[in-house]
């Protein structure tokens, strides 16, 4: 077992065991057990984070990935010896990470302990924190597996803990939100599964991966090396579109984004943080890993569609944000808007643009959890999410106001914060490819600034009475207070990292741009020449 396998399997095993442990503990010891299980979960999550960090240092990712070897046999580090899982149909346990997945893996292991910390005193804490640990296993699985079947299995597995997190710990309308979330994303992934199966039926036998009964296999690395995956151009396009629907729903992109605001508003804080921080990135990750890598020609043909989807998400998300009165709903729509930028970055077909999209995935994964953590504690302490129902937050809860400011500034793309790097990279690449069309996304970013600044003004400042501010009715005379220490720790770490990666983006940006150069030079250039388009 290498360290990556340990990293992926521990949370699943530990989470399930701790969940079960709580069920079998006798009633009189339940309270003590709950505390112990919570600490155990947090401890395991922190150890896994250290392990993930250590993986990065141990393998010298800067050197290994700087070479930019993409896709091929040795492209993945910590690749395990494939173990046959269902040998009759060719499913293997084959994992490995590269520059595309490592930042996501690191981000996941980072966000899990932070989300536990932010909602440390959740009701039914034992189950809550165990579910988050199970969630971590499923998310890591999605990012590390190199087998399409297991990819799909982990992809669906992420739904289960999130479904229960929303269902049991969610807001007042949680049932509707949980069901909508499940059915919506599940239906979309069935389309993706059909696409995966068509790919499967076209796979050529590949050594030990091949199914004994069917003669096909699911292995991504072998599929990448297969010269022509699907000969029929029409079928190829069908598969690409099926995959696109599956991934775009997860991202989510307009017009298949409608599950997101409901899920976010009803989800508990930790759930929202993971949903926005990591689960949305699964869509972009899968799109790059499978759709773009396997079907570069179709991606190039479909650039207009990608640009349209990206622009629509970016603009529509920002536009809807302007009209929102609910804080969480606004942040959710801002996620839709930022995910639009990822499509735009990929559509540029420039190494810089794709690297910008990758960095956007990472930066948004730091910033949006911070925003949702702030929203969560706002709801927790002020019992409302209405923008404008309270004024002068800075007076009552200075720490919360500070984190909120930092998060919004990072999200609207203030220089020296993580979001800015990604936005600039995407805009430059967009200009290089599409010329003056860049004005549309660039001007839309003004809308982003507008809605953030406007709500900032209405919430944090603008108190008619400089000493009291306006408290929302939902407080019922309760004294306003600031956030608790564990919320504070979690937000400080996220905010600090948003600043750190704004100043030193090179930590991840270098390897991301190497991976992107690899994708362009190994895959996309070939496809461009085949399509006889001058790059």
């Amino acid at each position: 077992m290498n360290s990556l396998e340990i990293l992926t399997l521990t949370p699943l095993a530990a989470g399930l065991m701790l969940l079960f442990l709580h069920e079998i503990v006798p009633n009189q010891a339940k309270e003590k057990a709950t505390d112990l299980i919570r600490y155990a979960n947090l401890g395991i999550a922190i150890i896994l984070f250290l392990l993930a960090t250590q993986i990065g240092f141990e393998t010298d990712w800067l050197d290994t990935w700087a070479a930019g070897n993409f896709g091929g046999q040795n492209a993945y580090i910590l690749e395990n010896t494939p173990v046959s899982l269902i040998s009759s149909i060719g499913v293997t346990w084959h994992i490995g990470i590269d520059a595309l997945s490592y930042p996501m893996v690191w981000l996941t292991t980072l966000l899990i302990p932070l989300s536990m910390l932010v909602q440390w005193d959740a009701e039914k804490g034992a189950q809550f924190h165990s579910l988050i640990l199970i969630m971590e296993g499923a998310l890591l699985g999605v990012f590390v597996v190199l087998d399409l079947f297991m990819f799909y299995a982990f992809w669906e597995l992420t739904l289960v803990p999130m479904f229960f997190l929303i269902l049991v710990w969610g807001g007042s309308d949680r049932r509707y939100a949980a069901m909508k979330f499940f059915i919506y994303t599940f239906s979309a992934s069935i389309l993706m599964l059909i696409g995966i199966l068509i790919v499967y039926f076209h796979s050529a036998p590949a050594g030990g991966f091949t199914g004994t009964l069917t003669g096909h296999h699911f292995d991504m690395v072998s599929l990448m090396q297969q010269s022509t995956l699907i000969e029929s151009a029409g079928l190829r396009m069908v598969v690409f579109l099926l995959l696109l629907v599956g991934f775009a729903t997860k991202m989510p992109s307009v017009p298949v984004h409608t599950w997101l605001p409901d899920a976010h508003v009803q989800a508990p804080t930790a759930g929202s943080m993971l949903l926005a921080g990591v689960m949305l990135k699964m869509g972009a990750y899968g799109f790059l890993r499978i759709a773009v890598s396997f079907f570069p020609q179709e991606t190039i043909t479909m650039i207009p569609l990608l640009v349209f989807l990206g622009m629509a998400s970016l603009f529509y998300g920002a536009w809807v944000c302007l009209g929102q009165t609910n804080l969480k709903r606004m942040v959710a729509y801002s996620s839709v808007s930022h995910m639009g930028l990822i499509f735009l970055g990929i559509a540029t077909m420039q190494p810089l643009g794709i690297a910008g999209a990758l960095f956007m995935m990472f930066a948004h994964g730091l910033i949006s959890p911070l925003l949702f953590a702030v929203c969560g504690s706002f709801k927790h302490h002020y019992h409302t999410l209405e923008i404008g129902s309270m004024r002068g937050l800075a007076h009552h809860s200075p720490f919360m106001a500070g984190h909120m400011m930092l998060g919004w500034m990072a999200s609207l793309g203030l220089p020296l914060l993580a979001g800015f790097v990604a936005e600039v990279a995407i805009m430059i690449a967009f200009w290089m490819t599409f010329g003056w069309w860049v004005l549309i996304p660039a001007l839309t970013l003004i809308l982003t600034a507008a809605y953030y600044l406007w709500s900032m003004q209405r919430t944090i400042f603008e108190s008619s009475d400089p000493h009291r501010g306006i408290l929302p009715d939902t407080m019922h005379g309760e004294e306003p207070r600031d956030i608790t220490w564990h919320e504070n720790v979690g937000m400080f770490i996220l905010g600090g990292l948003a600043i750190l990666f704004g100043i030193l983006p090179a930590i991840f940006f270098d390897m991301m741009s190497n991976w992107s150069s690899g994708l362009v030079s190994e895959v996309l250039i070939d496809a461009l020449t085949q399509l006889e388009v001058t790059p």
Binding site: I86, S88, E156, F164, I190, L197, F201, L213, T214, M237
Partner: protein, 597 residues
């Protein structure tokens, strides 16, 4: 090795048919043990007693209500182990045939035999014994000694109290029930073993008649009598049609002047298979007879249009019996159907089977009808019954692909593997679902109402989680075993049907028009699976979302809980990892042996 000497044959017969012999011993035990110590022996199912003039009262131990169940479980467990022995490496009696005279022969090549113990039949006997074992386990804690049994009144003292307790400590009823279960097991294994249509019919009837009684067995429930009557009437009509079809086949197999060559054996020089293959064009007599034979099997697998009794029978009878109907009885129908279709009427490679169109159309109608009906029902048992109909449709699709004549040796093997594997894993998760329903049913909740599942997640989280996993497996969500079996079926159909079509055709439309129409069965399966998600997830929704109608915890019933957890583990493990591979290998062995004939 060909053993002609009858002296040597008899001990080996017991060895080859060890599972069946075990069951026979179990039947004898179940008749004798409850009567031990008594001066009379009661004839099972009746009130007649034969005096033996030795002894007095029954022993307390042998009149324990648990004893028949324990015997029956033990016997079924042993028989299952004996069946599984066939799959152990190095087992000598892997492929053994028994002729009408009792001669035993290894290898079974070309000669006239009536029973055949090979991996195919043993695969199915394993499924039957496992499903019956679960049914027995579910019944063991559940059946009172009398229909109107009551616990002794707390005020009772002395003789009244002892009398009341003694009345309850009576195992006559349990004895009858488990005896019938063992008859079902015996009948079903005869069906799986026989290569002679008449013997097959006898096995079918032995199992069916016992099942008719079992469906009506819980007389406490008013609906069970009605369910059993419906099931019996439709079942006996189907059996009659089958028998008539067999008589037509018998006439056809001989010639008008010479009945010496007439035979109902599937194999051998005069067998139906040889006669069928020798026929130049389809003889109407043969086709009609063959079709009528299939009606009986269609009833057992509850394929449309012979499925109408199934939902009533499932919802009317007790959940453990519904379990047996949905898994063992269905597997029996398929064991016979596949044997007859493949051995007798399998087309040459490249030619379409005569029954292809019939099976293909029935398959689509069956799966769609089953799913649509399941969508619109508010009764969990009926829903599972209709889902069982839908699953029959999926398996018929695999058989249609087999009959398309496009499947080469490897693909045919894959398709039969898929069918056998699906029936095996169905015994895991479908049984599991019925076992959970048994739990809800035991304390008086009406398992025929969706309300009985409301809020189960709060009343019993572990059982609710297990039920949810069973539902996901039924829907075919990866990586559970339900997905793997469905996937193998789809894979087989796609491989067979696209063999002629060129995969490299330019456009998607061109490609679709170049494949055999059986391909659309795979599409229909995919669409139907997506459709079925709605009603399977609905069970999850009511379990976790609705407020429970009663907050009573579910009964303890340790045996059922163990069975549910066992099913849960098997459902998960059979979908992924080395255990699933072992099971698929078993099914492959079975398929290979069936096709070798």
């Amino acid at each position: 090795m060909n053993i002609e000497s009858p002296l040597l044959a008899s001990p080996l017969l017991g060895e080859v048919l060890r599972p069946e012999m075990t069951i026979l011993i179990g039947i004898v035990l179940l008749i004798v043990v409850p009567n031990l110590g008594n001066a009379t022996i009661r004839i099972p199912m009746t009130k007649f007693r034969i005096p033996v003039f030795l002894g007095g009262r029954r022993f307390t131990m042998t009149s324990d209500p648990l004893i028949p169940g324990v015997i029956s479980m033990f016997v079924l467990l042993l028989s299952m182990a004996a069946s599984l022995m066939t799959f152990v490496d190095g087992h000598e009696l892997v492929n053994v045939c028994i002729s009408a005279s009792g001669a035993i022969q290894q290898g079974c090549l070309g000669s006239d035999y009536i029973l055949r113990s090979d991996p195919y039949s043993r695969m199915f006997t394993t499924i039957f014994f496992f499903a019956l074992l679960l049914g027995t386990a579910a019944m063991i804690n559940r059946m009172p000694a009398f229909v109107d049994a009551k616990a002794p009144h707390p005020d009772d003292t002395g003789a009244t109290r002892i009398h009341a307790i003694r009345r309850l400590l009576n195992n006559r009823r349990q004895g009858d029930f488990h005896l019938l279960i063992l008859f079902v097991a015996l009948g079903m294994s005869i069906v799986a073993l026989s290569t002679h249509l008449f013997l097959l019919f006898i096995g079918l009837e032995l199992a069916s008649l016992a099942i008719y009684v079992l469906v009506a067995f819980m007389k406490e429930d008013e609906t069970s009598g009605e369910a059993a009557t419906k099931y019996f009437l439709t079942g006996s009509v189907a059996s009659a049609i089958t028998l008539y079809g067999m008589s037509l086949l018998y006439i056809w197999s001989g010639s008008a002047s010479n009945y010496a060559t007439a035979s109902l054996s599937l194999v051998g020089p005069n067998g139906l298979a040889a006669t069928w293959q020798a026929m130049d064009s389809v003889d109407p007599l043969a086709a009609i007879g063959f079709g009528m034979v299939l009606v009986g099997f269609g009833f057992k697998i509850s394929a449309v249009p012979f499925h109408f009794a199934a939902p009533d029978a499932y919802s009317g009878t007790s959940a453990p019996m519904a379990l047996i109907l949905a898994t063992a009885s269905k597997a029996m129908g398929f064991a016979a159907l596949v044997r007859v279709l493949v051995v007798m009427a399998m087309p040459e490679y490249g030619t379409e089977a005569t029954w292809l169109l019939l099976v293909g159309i029935l398959s689509v109608i069956t799966m769609t009808w089953g799913n649509l009906a399941a969508l619109s029902t508010e009764n969990p048992k009926r829903m599972l019954a209709y889902s069982s109909v839908a699953h029959a449709g999926y398996l018929l699709a695999a058989l249609a692909a087999l009959g398309s004549g496009m499947a080469g040796a490897a693909t045919s093997r894959l398709l039969i593997t898929a069918v056998a594997f699906h029936l095996l894993v169905l015994a895991f998760f479908k049984s599991g679902a019925f076992l959970v329903l048994t739990l809800t049913e035991m304390k008086g909740d009406d398992a025929n109402k969706m309300e009985s599942l409301y809020g189960l997640g709060r009343r019993d989280p572990i059982m609710a989680a297990a039920m949810f996993v069973f539902m996901l497996a039924l829907a075919g969500v990866p990586p559970l075993s339900g997905f793997l079996s469905k996937f193998l079926v789809i894979d087989g159909i796609v491989t067979a049907s696209t063999a002629s079509g060129s995969l490299s055709a330019g456009g998607a439309i061109e490609w679709l028009s170049s494949v055999h129409w059986v391909f659309w069965l795979a599409v229909a399966m995919a669409v139907n699976s997506a459709l079925s998600l709605f009603y399977y997830l609905r069970i999850g929704q009511v379990m976790f979302f609705e407020t429970p109608r009663s907050i009573r915890p579910l009964p303890e019933a340790p045996m059922i809980r163990i069975a549910v957890i066992l099913c849960l583990f098997l459902t998960v493990l059979a979908g992924l990892g080395p255990f699933s591979q072992t099971l698929v290998d078993m099914a492959t062995m079975a398929a290979q042996e069936l096709l070798r004939v």
